[in-house]
Symmetry: C2
Subunit: 96 residues, 2 copies
DNA sequence: AATATATATGAACAAGTGTTCATATATTCA
DNA sequence: TGAATATATGAACACTTGTTCATATATATT
């Protein structure tokens, strides 16, 4: 394995910050199967639209989700298999 | 795969909180090869002993590290292969 | 018992974070 | 163009978190 530098470890911490909030984990998890609109996500999680929108922006900036517009609606989906894998490994850990 | 409940996702977020701080990631990373004493860790990370001790308690409570006493010295080590694997996956993600 | 060394802990403080509210922007449809 | 719907954004606030300082506890040594 490549040598892990100090800087890499800072970036890893930054990455994990995204997964360190239950709202964001729930958002990411509900994107496991399908893409979903902002309002769908808000309904599913029973939270208000603004809160979801703020969190989606964080996930977007970190490139963990991507989105596409279709008319008025914006659909979000996971950007990367890594996201799925990291969360699955977290789930496995806590389910033991 | 087992059905993921809402509670599981909360626990997953709690788990990832441990990895969401660069001090804790650096502590865990420096335990990859060897167990290490508190002062060794503090020296390696160039941080004061109290800060390290506080963080080690958090990691201990979450069962990510374990420790053993040998005289005055307390040696910490990773508690679980999952910890190593999750961090490695994080490293791979950011190194791409 | 007294001293030195290793680690842990509590209080305090600064900095960061997530949600809400109000409002702005963008798109569609009548 | 005006109204309706979907999403985004900024400000404010409460809450959490990481570090430092001072000090406590535990062990070893003399």
């Amino acid at each position: 394995m490549k040598k892990t530098t100090e800087n890499t470890l800072y970036d890893v911490a930054e990455l994990f910050k995204n997964f360190a909030d239950s709202t964001r984990i729930r958002i990411l998890h509900c994107l496991f199967e399908n893409e979903r609109s902002v309002n769908e996500i808000a309904d599913l999680l029973n939270m208000n639209q603004s809160a979801i929108s703020h969190q989606l922006r964080i996930l977007k900036n970190s490139k963990l989700v991507k989105n596409r517009r279709e008319g008025k609606t914006i659909y979000y989906s996971l950007d990367d298999d890594h996201v799925y894998n990291i969360i699955c490994q977290g789930i496995e850990h806590v389910e033991e």
